[in-house]
Symmetry: C2
Subunit: 217 residues, 2 copies
């Protein structure tokens, strides 16, 4: 192809795929009510203000689309399709939930964006599989695990969606922290004390990202 700029758009045509510097995946994990989403949102806003390209993946943009439930999929795609691909809360479904989110986060990372994710993601193995996939393509610094470590008493006292109460009443089975395990990260890049104010926690994350050279954009 010609490399001369065209008159109309001043674009130089290149044959090869363009090279982009990778972003990274900032993976928040912790109990429901631990403050994951709140801190991740504050980090996202701070990065936006610093002109660093970032995006937050959380229940709001994942649960109704990519990882929709069988109930959401069935009217459009039929019962058999919905049963196969729709995600509930069984072990296999949770594993696929985290797998798909990890893949999307990796694509954002490859695009040069800092992908922030805020999901309970209670299983060490699932989180480590995402870490392996992301760091295998990029480097060690491309996956930053953030453990939002908040005592369950605080999480339960917040209970913004009333989920802990429902779990205590037996209306929700397999609720992490009540009747399903949470496997805390063993060597998270960032360990946050979730009882601290959100501004302080977000700053800790920003400072870490700076220290590993991810905020040069």
């Amino acid at each position: 192809m010609s490399k001369e700029p065209t008159e109309k758009t001043h674009v130089v045509w290149h044959k090869s795929t363009i090279e982009r510097p990778r972003g990274c995946v900032v993976w928040f994990t912790g109990l429901s009510g631990s403050g994951k989403s709140t801190v991740a949102n504050a980090v996202d806003a701070a990065l936006h203000q610093m002109n660093v390209s970032s995006y937050l993946l959380d229940g709001d943009n994942i649960r109704h689309g990519l990882n929709a439930s069988p109930e959401i999929l069935e009217p459009v795609h039929g019962a058999e399709f919905a049963k196969r691909f729709g995600l509930g809360f069984a072990a296999q479904d949770r594993e696929e939930n985290i797998r798909r989110i990890g893949c999307v986060a990796e694509i954002f990372c490859a695009s040069g964006t800092l992908a922030l994710t805020a999901f309970v993601s209670p299983y060490r193995r699932d989180r480590n599989l995402v870490r392996s996939a992301v760091t295998a393509t990029g480097g060690e610094k491309d996956f930053v695990e953030v453990y939002v470590d908040t005592p369950i008493e605080i999480c339960e006292s917040r209970d913004p969606k009333g989920l802990y109460q429902m779990a205590r009443e037996g209306k929700i089975k397999n609720f992490t922290g009540i009747n399903a395990p949470y496997e805390a990260p063993e060597n998270p890049e960032i360990h946050l004390d979730g009882s601290q104010p959100v501004e302080r926690l977000a700053m800790q994350v920003i400072d870490y990202l700076k220290s590993i050279g991810k905020l040069s954009g």
Copy 2:
């Protein structure tokens, strides 16, 4: 939360989720060998040079991760998981393939990026479901369907992966254009004559995106 800048990062903390202008989804469709990926890559490179945030979703970054085959998933996730979530080429699998890609493209669009996708996507219904999802959240201009209309004789003569030959020999079943249908878009935003040079086709796409105000970034 305080809105005072902190000394350390000069960041103003906001409580609410930040508002981003949406990008859009530029959906290339056409036969294998039609030139979808080549044109999409050229558009991606041009946008990059114009400092417009864009990213190309294609087989390279989707097929080995998000939409991996059962064969790829099985060693890590087990046979039952792989059979359920892994994607082959059956009708249901193709439908889920396009659904997941559409959801990822919509997330990129929501993040303010121009998501380019290059997949055969032979079924009108599947493409229209993505269009509906993207435009329902955003507006009519958020989904741009690009029909790369290349005579099958040209596609077959290119045959970069030898797929047409294998299909002709009966080694691939359900190959679009040979023994599976391709449903051409009825009202694509952009109709490209795939026999033309790639620079000209890419320019047509860039000009269209300009005309609808998507290149202001």
